[in-house]
């Protein structure tokens, strides 16, 4: 083969292998490293395994916020209108955290069904509703409507 062509071929092969490997690794690690959003209904139905990192969210139930007397631990409940999930968190809540507001928490479910949150997010805009929370509310609303129209199939 012509030396110049050979070199070009080597180069192209190198690039193809490098890019292929990169894309493969990226896709593999993406499938391992994402956090799925779960609605309170899904959690209440036991669809979420214990100990797996998930994101969960909904509206903070009014009157559910309880603070620890000595430390920074808090517990509160979030709802999508159909089910509620208790969340436990230790640390400083975001500025926009308020009862009745939509929030998203990152954490793991424990044996008792409480989400042990490592992070609580509330966006920096009072008009803003996290899209996941909106999705959860809509979902619960849809389920509710379906259940009313066809009570036999709901479980």
């Amino acid at each position: 083969m012509h030396p110049q062509r050979k070199k070009r071929l080597q180069l192209i092969l190198f690039m193809v292998v490098a890019i292929g490997a990169a894309v493969g690794l990226l896709m593999y690690s993406l499938s391992e490293n994402v956090n799925l959003f779960q609605t309170p209904t899904q959690i209440a139905n036991g669809e979420v395994p214990v100990g797996r990192t998930i994101r969960a969210g909904g509206l903070v139930v009014v009157g559910s916020l309880k603070r620890d007397d000595t430390g920074l631990a808090v517990t509160f409940q979030v709802t999508d209108g159909a089910a509620t999930v208790p969340i436990h968190y230790e640390g400083i809540l975001p500025d926009l955290f308020r009862e009745g507001q939509g929030i998203v928490a990152l954490g793991k479910l424990d044996e008792s069904g409480t989400l042990q949150a490592s992070e609580v997010l509330a966006k920096h805009d009072e008009k803003y509703m996290p899209p996941e929370v909106k999705h959860a509310l809509d979902q619960a609303h849809e389920d509710g409507k379906a259940a009313m129209q066809n009570p036999a199939s709901s479980n």
Binding site: Q4, K7, M15, A18, I19, A22, L26, M27, S29, L30, N33, V34, N35, L36, F37, R55, R67, D69, T70, G71, L72, E90, G91, I92, L93, D95, L96, F97, L106, K123, H124, D125, E126, Y128, P130, P131, E132, H135
Partner: protein, 664 residues
């Protein structure tokens, strides 16, 4: 003239109409700037081509006038303008009224097109050495991009739209997060970078149209690309700095979609800078360079699309409006599709001549390009993946910082290793033996520093720190030793090494400095959230934080809870810090103002959480070693870029470079 609306309201002026009219005029001029010069090029008509310069100047003047008018409306509290009413307030301090011009979607878009016009003006002014057909094409293409975005502004996001006839008496105020010095300077700087990549893009397309991709084209394009890259670098660093002190929890990078949208063009334009070097010096990688220029600008546009369409929600997504999204997507499609089509037609005719061996500067720069592009691609994938999954109906997911770090860190490490060697390698062919003799000392010093660093910081070994600091030291020491060798041990000779070379060295040292900062902050930051009442103290690391007292304070448009902390190192008082919790009255929104004691080797960061019972507060205390180095590195990179840009070979007179020019 200014009391056209006298019968409606005495304060009402025609300023918004003037602004809108100026914007429409800019659109008309931009259209002419596209049509006349390009027609002139087609017909080989010198006079028509020469219209490019004055038209570019006129366009920028109209845009500046339009932007000025919007600013005027803000300063004079003209709440009949819907955009002013929703982003300003009579109590807002004047500097923030001015920065509120780009505080939300409509105004920031106007800023975007105005800056594009200014880049056009700069090209018209500073391209004396450019042959006329090339200049006509470059400005013509920039005019076309301008047309698209001015049309977008007028059609979907007119900042001058009126609230008539019911004029609010008070505005809704600027988002308090944006009421800050960082946000006065961050958006214009970042936009200068984004939009500046349009110049590199226009040069690439112009060269493709003319069928001349040569060293001269690379030489013209290089300083412009560098200028845009400098703005991008500083803009990203400013954004990170702002997030660090203003969001109240001390993070400096979140892998937020909007940050990613700025990092991707930065990575690709960094690749472009290096690829342009090869094209200029050796006449190689031509079509690749063109492709990078197209990608870099496309990624800026993609960033605009991601931010403006609201498909990705983040702190930055001011508004979600599908119509805007579709419009930007259409512009993106036309721009990317059109330029790639042109590329497909023209690029095969461009042959790169010249050869190089496996070990040569060309190879190292190729590696640099591949790695940077792969990194940009990985970030693109991570940013778009949640959209894709949602689109396919597989649920709502998020890609966390862990993933981005896992991807980005190894790529940066290989890049850092290659950088020190690549900067020293010779063009065409070099040998391992030579590189080894030049770098063994740097390698040994790097290992020594790397192993020593974790013991100095924490008296125990930490492999991540060894690797991070080792790479940074390798890069810094390798660069400095090369300067020393080239100057043959005499400081006085350093000035004679050429600005371009010194610029490269300083920028590479900057990368090392940033790596030091990132490594130290990531591994040795100490953070605790504690419940504290006045009089109590808490020890974090070597520092004791004493909560002196809590107070109350009233600002111009907010009320604030303020606390006073004294920080001691042993018995010695270091500083008193006064973090605040503000409540902005117009919107009722709560803001955390962190208090930071800044130092070259550590930042002390105190911010207030929430009020608890009995006067206690949840407090967030942090010690962040080497925090400043993260941004200091960016400043080094920008200075390096500036020096490279000022190299004398870009300032040649027309007579020197245009010897071989053909009138196309």
């Amino acid at each position: 003239m200014f009391d056209l609306y006298g019968d409606l309201s005495p304060q009402l002026t025609a300023a918004p109409e003037f602004g809108e009219l100026a914007l429409i005029m800019a659109l008309v001029v931009a259209a002419l700037q596209t049509l006349i010069p390009l027609w002139g090029v087609k017909r080989g008509h010198g006079l028509l081509m020469a219209y490019a310069r004055p038209l570019a100047a006129a366009q920028s003047m109209f845009l500046l006038l339009s932007l000025f008018m919007l600013g005027w409306c803000f300063v004079h509290d003209d709440f009949s303008v819907a955009y002013v009413a929703s982003n300003s307030n009579t109590a807002l301090p004047t500097p923030y009224k001015i920065s509120a011009v780009w505080g939300a979607h409509e105004g920031s878009l106007l800023l975007w097109v105005t800056l594009l016009g200014c880049w056009g003006l700069a090209v018209a002014l500073f391209s004396r050495s450019l042959p006329l057909p090339m200049l006509a094409r470059v400005l013509g293409i920039m005019g076309l991009v301008s047309c698209g975005f001015i049309l977008f502004t007028l059609e979907t996001s007119n900042p001058f739209a009126r609230n008539l006839p019911s004029i609010p008496t008070e505005g809704a105020d600027l988002n308090p997060l944006l009421q800050d010095f960082g946000l006065i300077v961050h958006p214009p700087t970042l936009y200068m970078g984004y939009v500046g990549l349009c110049v590199a893009f226009a040069f690439a397309i112009a060269a493709l149209m003319g069928g001349r991709l040569d060293a001269a084209w690379a030489r013209w394009s290089r300083p412009w690309t560098t200028a845009a890259w400098i703005f991008l670098t500083i803009g990203i660093a400013l954004g990170s700095w702002w997030a660090y002190y203003e969001l109240g929890w001390g993070g400096w990078w979140f892998w937020d979609p909007v940050e990613n949208a700025s990092l991707m063009p930065w990575l690709v334009s960094t690749a472009l800078l290096h690829s342009l070097a090869v094209t200029e010096k050796r006449g190689l990688f031509k079509s690749w360079t063109v492709l990078l220029a197209i990608f870099a600008f496309s990624l800026s546009l993609l960033g605009t699309f991601l931010v403006r369409s609201g498909v990705l929600t983040s702190v930055h997504a001011f508004a979600s409006d599908p119509e805007r999204g579709v419009f930007v997507l259409a512009l993106l499609g036309i721009c990317v599709g059109g330029s790639l089509l042109l590329y497909a037609i023209k690029a095969p005719t461009v042959a790169s001549v010249g050869r190089y061996e496996w070990i040569s500067r060309e190879s190292f720069l190729l590696l640099n390009n591949v790695l940077l592009v792969v990194a940009a691609f990985a970030i693109l994938l991570g940013t778009l993946y949640p959209l894709l999954v949602d689109f396919l109906g597989n649920g709502k997911i998020s890609v966390g910082a862990v993933w981005f770090n896992t991807m980005f860190v190894p790529i940066s490490m290989i890049l850092a290793i290659a950088t020190a060697a690549g900067a020293i390698a010779r063009w065409k062919a070099d040998s391992f033996g030579r590189l080894f003799t030049m770098l063994w000392l740097a390698a040994i010093l790097a290992v020594v520093v790397a192993v020593a660093a974790p013991f100095v910081m924490a008296s125990s070994i930490n492999l991540k720190v060894v690797m991070g600091i080792g790479l940074a030291a390798w890069l810094i020491v390798g660069s400095l030793l090369d300067v020393w060798r080239k100057a043959r041990g005499q400081l006085s000779r350093i000035g004679g090494l050429g600005l371009s070379y010194l610029g490269m060295i300083i920028a590479h040292i900057g990368v090392g400095v940033t790596i030091v900062g990132v490594t130290m902050v990531a591994n040795y930051s100490q953070e605790e959230s504690v419940r504290m009442a006045p009089g109590e103290s808490h020890t974090l690391g070597d520092y004791r934080f004493v909560f002196e007292r809590a107070g109350h304070y009233e600002g111009p448009n907010y009320i604030s809870d303020i606390t006073r902390f004294s920080v001691y190192d042993g018995d010695q008082l270091i500083n008193t810090l006064e973090p605040e919790k503000r409540r902005y009255t117009a919107r009722g929104s709560i803001m955390t103002e962190a208090a930071i004691d800044v130092g070259l080797f550590r930042d002390l960061y105190v911010s207030m959480g929430e009020p608890l019972d009995n006067g206690a507060w949840g407090m967030r205390l942090q010690v962040k070693p080497f925090m400043r180095w993260v941004w200091l590195g960016a400043i080094f990179m920008a200075i390096g870029g500036l020096l490279a840009m000022l190299d004398k070979r870009y300032r040649q007179r027309r007579s020197e470079v245009s010897g071989g020019e053909l009138p196309v």
